[in-house]
């Protein structure tokens, strides 16, 4: 069943007017209630997509970013013939094949949903990564938010004491976009170190006196300089004071996991990041991004798949099994994304960038188990059926997380924006 975009459904002026009237209670792009209240930031109208299958099953999202361009042929979309490459195809009990480079993932393939028909136009790392992270193309003068910031806008905070938006193994890169700084993902650059420096210097009395003096001495500058970045730092200071008072900071400490669990995920940063993501999700953090690097396999692809690929394999399978055993998989959507695929022609020991066809994976959060959506052609060059864009991928994740699609918000500079950039969700992936 093909879906029109929600923009299609709002094509006539009457539709749009009616819709905007309904959405008029939403403070366009601004927080209505203070972000710390924990409530949704506005009286959100009922989501237009609420009736579609799969809506709102995911309370949490773990977004795995494989940076560099994961070769689809050497992972989730193996081919025969000239495109084959160094890996072999392995049949899984789910009925589809994946690469021999990912044996642990093969074992849990009956839980995952592979999208083999992702397609994009750009084979340049920075802009393609931006597109997959935000669902929008990079433009000169606007910064789009990450998924977690959108979710915080529509649904409010997910925890009274912890942030709703975290990114691991990567800096924030203004992940809040045009939303206030309180929506920015909290960056954890090294999962083993977690969130250090949460205890103040000196005793409580000294800390209190300093905080009082700080608020007094800060008054002049904050008032005299009406600068948005200064205000953002005011927000960060406020968030920090609040976080220091949280009793859930243990969530950031993976050292308290049993050694066996840490070993099962793996010792590398991506693995520990996945483990951290699981802990955070358990403690109520809604959205966690985890970055994995090293996927730009122009050369030495076989070596790299046995290295970076194996680390991913162990960590991803461990994460899925862990979530399942804790009863969290049905309410946690794990998304594996990458900025583009790699060329079918294997040369020089590797493959070049290839955005026209690539693969992503969705697991949990109401997604079908053991399912393949879409297909690439026999070579792995073009999409053969059911193309999925980055915007649609985002719309699908948004739909699973219970976010309203087709709802326009206005940025502070007056631009209308919709999550997923007006694309429709791929409801075929939902059970």
């Amino acid at each position: 069943m093909s879906l029109h975009t929600f923009a299609d459904q709002l094509r006539t002026p009457e539709d749009r007017r009616a819709f905007l009237e309904k959405a008029a209670t939403m403070a366009f792009g601004l927080t209505v209630l203070p972000a710390f209240a924990g409530a949704a930031e506005s009286a959100a109208p009922k989501a237009p997509n609420a009736a579609l299958p799969g809506f709102g099953k995911a309370k949490n999202v773990i977004f795995l970013e494989l940076q560099g361009g994961m070769s689809h042929i050497d992972t989730f979309d193996p081919k025969t013939g000239a495109s084959k490459g160094p890996g072999d195809a392995v049949s899984t009990k789910a009925g589809f094949q994946i690469t021999s480079f990912l044996p642990n993932t093969a074992k849990i393939s009956d839980k995952i949903c592979v999208i083999r028909s992702m397609t994009a136009k750009v084979g340049v790392h920075a802009s393609a990564q931006y597109l997959m992270r935000t669902g929008f193309e990079q433009r000169g003068v606007i910064q789009h938010p990450n998924f977690g910031a959108w979710a915080q806008h529509f649904l409010g905070r997910s925890s009274q004491t912890l942030p709703a938006n975290v990114c691991v193994n990567r800096p924030s890169n203004q992940g809040n976009g045009w939303f206030p700084a309180s929506h920015a993902p909290l960056p954890i650059l090294d999962p083993a170190t977690g969130l250090p420096n949460t205890s103040g210097v000196g005793d409580a009395s000294a800390q209190q006196k300093r905080a009082t003096l700080l608020s007094e001495l800060d008054r002049g500058f904050g008032a005299a300089v009406a600068d948005s970045n200064v205000k953002a730092y005011n927000d960060f200071y406020a968030s920090t004071f609040e976080l220091m008072r949280s009793r859930d900071l243990k969530a950031f400490d993976i050292a308290s996991e049993p050694k066996a669990v840490r070993a099962k995920y793996g010792a590398d940063k991506f693995a520990q990041g996945c483990l951290l993501a699981r802990r955070l999700v358990e403690h109520g953090v809604r959205f966690v991004e985890v970055r994995s690097g090293g996927w730009d396999m122009h050369a030495t692809l076989e070596d790299r798949m046995e290295d970076v690929g194996a680390e991913f394999d162990a960590a991803f399978a461990a994460l899925v099994e862990d979530l399942e055993s804790k009863g969290l998989l049905d309410t946690t959507l794990v998304a594996v994304s990458t900025e583009f695929g790699r060329k079918p022609n294997f040369e020089g020991g590797g493959r070049g960038h290839h955005p026209l066809a690539f693969s992503t994976v969705l697991v949990g959060g109401g997604v079908k188990r053991g399912y393949v959506h879409g297909a690439s052609d026999a070579k792995g060059y073009d999409v053969a059926k059911d193309p999925v864009t980055a915007g649609a991928f985002h719309a699908t994740v948004a739909h699973a997380a219970g976010l309203p699609l087709g709802v326009e918000i206005m940025t502070p500079s007056g631009r209308p924006m919709m999550i997923g950039n007006k694309a429709a969700p791929v409801t075929a992936v939902f059970a």
Partner: protein, 712 residues
């Protein structure tokens, strides 16, 4: 919100529009750029800028108090520290007290002479023209220049922009107490000649050029960093530096300049795309894969440019093969170490007699066949560019192609080389470029003020690419010395430079300011140079024996074991200590107290510098000034916070010397915010001191104000 402009550093390959899927037919002549909505700006006549003289190099046979002699070039004198450069390019800094009395006087005399550069009147005239152009553009939009910056605002800003840190209390008091009419001009000149200038220029260039300790998977690139530092300290001009990088020959072990191209040894086409963006401000990244109907460049043009590096071989494969064989032959050697030594030695640039670049297998256009050899050809931006003198290059000899390309690239007559660096340096000082984004200046007419950009280009050419002199002109302008504007929303229109913009200090500027607050301005003399550490690993050319490899492997192992701790506590590194020349940095609270340019490049991931946005040096301009909760945790509670609350810190000790608590508070205000406190602020601080807080607490508080983190 932060203007999009300031985040373009992260997204160096930002696109103005989506790339469309490659069309099989060859596209027609390049699409003409859309002219922006006409703004009527009256033409402003500007005076031609008289070019600087060829800089005299002052070579001298220096004698120390013990009678030892060395031939070296005078590079600068700052206070008592003289900077010399020997013929091999190595830079030395030491106190003049070790020189003979005659040479001490000689050094002073050298400093007194203007070492090249513009005369004061030329600086004033060029700066005045900047002001007239900016004002004309502002007036055309119904706007005005901001009021002049106060002395306090100017003081903090010029220190940050010229020497990369805020002034100490003593430095601030000295300037604020100076009543002379030309105090600002003199301060600018003094700061530009001081050691801090080189340290902050390094940070800026390191981010732009991707200075990184380890390139590829595990190859140390310290020689590139040392080369960069030596050239900056000698104030080598930008065109010379770029030419050295692009035409560098030999191993990275021997020739640090080769490190720039060798960064992309595994992906030479990406390297070409990167250098075109970095040195010409031209975004060809899309053109690597297909024509871009909305931008000006075709895939063919990209490959024709890349062909100038088509004969450059970046890996010595035969060396790699031999070392691999040897490592298997002798069981006593650790294979991994041996392969690493092979990789380090094999990373070199050599031009062969054959241009190997061919059109890619999936080349879709009908003007060439996949696999055809690519003939090198230079891009042009406007009809008539080919007539410029820069374009007389010869493509006959493959071995010379890279040198010819470097000549065209760095020529003052290159259509974009001068504007690109002028635009980028303007952005460094104002926070926004004249043409945003800096990675796409193909269409100069789309700049916020094309006339201003043309004038800046002319100044850059007249300065012969001396970036110090160029900045000297900017710093002396009324535009630069205006009050700052809040960060604008560029989606609403271009920023026309009512003044510099309010912006957060860069990670390096924050760190450096706090380091100097902790240990004092002598931090400027702590210098890290590690290129020499790699020399024992250089295998003689053409001579690879088991014994030599064994020898090198042993030396390498020795070096590595002292660096074992480098991954643990952020900033501490016992092994690093060997790399410091002159003064050694203190280690406090697990932090090595050296300025950012003299720490690992980049700093470890959890270090204060990275948390505050220092880039990973994988992409050009990847640093950011975004905020985050972990930053605030660091500044409030982390090891740096403990530095601030240390009574032995330089800032607190300086303040403690004052006789009254009011003067002590004033000293701390000068140290952290470069100004006197208001009456209300002084009263609040006074009350806090009486209420049980100490000077260290006031220091902590001031460093945690928004005002500390921002420059206006």
């Amino acid at each position: 919100m932060t203007p999009r402009a300031s985040h373009l550093g992260i997204f160096t390959l930002a696109l103005a529009a989506a790339c469309l899927a490659a069309a099989p037919k060859k596209k027609a002549a390049k699409a003409p750029a859309k002219a922006p909505a006409a703004v009527s700006v009256p033409a402003v006549a500007t005076a031609p800028v008289r070019a600087v003289e060829d800089r005299p190099q002052i070579w001298h046979l220096w004698t120390d108090v013990e009678g030892r002699k060395v031939e070296a070039m005078f590079c600068g004198l700052s206070g008592d520290i003289v900077s010399l450069q020997t013929k091999d390019g190595r830079n030395y800094r030491f106190n003049t007290s070790i020189l003979s009395p005659e040479d001490r006087e000689f050094a002073k005399a050298c400093a007194g002479k203007q070492i090249g550069g513009f005369s004061r009147s030329v600086v004033a005239a060029a700066a005045a023209d900047i002001d007239r152009l900016v004002e004309a553009r502002l007036n055309a939009a119904g706007q005005k220049l901001n009021a002049p910056a106060t002395d306090e605002e100017f003081l903090r800003r010029i220190y940050v922009d010229a020497v990369g840190r805020t002034p100490t209390a003593e430095e601030a008091a000295a300037f604020l107490g100076d009543a002379a009419a030309d105090r600002r001009e003199r301060l600018i000149d003094r700061l530009l000649q001081s050691p801090g200038y080189s340290l902050q220029m390094y940070n800026w260039m390191a981010d732009l050029l991707r200075a990184k300790d380890i390139i590829g998977k595990r190859i140390p690139a310290f020689t590139f960093e040392d080369w960069l530092k030596a050239r900056i300290t000698a104030n080598a001009t930008w065109d010379v530096m770029v030419r050295e990088m692009i035409s560098a020959d030999g191993r990275i072990l021997d020739n640090g300049a080769a490190g720039f191209l060798l960064f992309d040894a595994d992906m030479p086409l990406d390297g070409v795309s990167n250098l075109i963006t970095t040195f010409l401000g031209s975004n060809m990244s899309c053109a690597q894969c297909h024509d871009h109907p909305l931008a000006d460049w075709s895939q063919r043009q990209f490959f024709e440019m890349a062909a100038f590096l088509g004969a450059a071989d970046m890996k010595n494969e035969s060396m790699l093969a031999e070392v691999k064989k040897l490592s298997r032959a002798d069981s006593g050697l650790n294979r991994n170490f041996v392969r690493l030594i092979g990789e380090i030695n094999a990373l070199r640039i050599a031009d062969s007699g054959q241009n190997k670049l061919t059109f890619p297998k999936d080349y879709k256009y009908d003007d060439a066949k996949p696999g055809d050899p690519v003939k090198p050809a230079l891009i042009e931006w406007d009809a008539g560019d080919a007539k410029r003198s820069a374009y007389s290059v010869s493509t006959k000899s493959p071995v010379q192609l890279r040198d010819e390309f470097a000549r065209w690239l760095t020529s003052p007559e290159n259509p974009r080389f001068a504007s690109n660096i002028a635009n980028r340096v303007w952005r460094k000082t104002f926070g926004i470029a004249v043409k945003e984004p800096v990675d796409d200046i193909d269409d100069l007419s789309a700049a916020s003020s094309p006339q201003l950009l043309a004038h800046l280009t002319q100044v850059m050419r007249a300065a012969r690419f001396d970036l110090r002199e160029f900045q000297r002109v900017i710093f002396n302008s009324r535009t630069y010395q205006s009050a700052a504007s809040p960060a604008p929303d560029l989606s609403k229109g271009p920023y026309l430079f009512n003044g510099p913009i309010v912006r957060r200090l860069t990670a390096e500027q924050v760190w450096d300011s706090l380091v100097v607050a902790a240990v004092g301005p002598s931090a400027d003399n702590i210098l890290l140079r590690r290129g020499e550490d790699l020399k024992p690993l250089a295998l003689p050319e053409g001579k690879i024996t088991v014994a030599l490899v064994k020898d090198a492997a042993t030396k390498m192992q020795g070096m590595r074991s002292t660096k074992k701790s480098s991954k643990t506590a952020a900033g501490t590194d016992a092994g690093l200590a060997n790399g410091y020349e002159g003064e050694k940095p203190q280690s406090r609270n697990g932090l090595l107290l050296a300025r950012a340019s003299e720490l690992p490049q980049p700093a470890p991931e959890t270090h204060f510098l990275r948390v505050f946005g220092q880039g990973d040096r994988l992409l050009s301009n990847s640093s950011t000034v975004d905020g985050s909760v972990p930053q605030v945790l660091q500044l409030m509670n982390g090891p740096v916070a403990r530095l601030l609350t240390d009574p032995k810190s330089h800032a607190v000790q300086t303040a403690a010397k004052e006789k009254t608590s009011a003067k002590q508070v004033r000293s701390l205000y000068l140290a952290f915010l470069s100004r006197n406190p208001t009456a209300a602020e002084a009263a609040s601080a006074q009350k806090a001191l009486e209420g049980g807080l100490g000077l260290t607490d006031v220091a902590w508080t001031l460093a945690n104000t928004r005002e500390f983190l921002f420059i206006r």
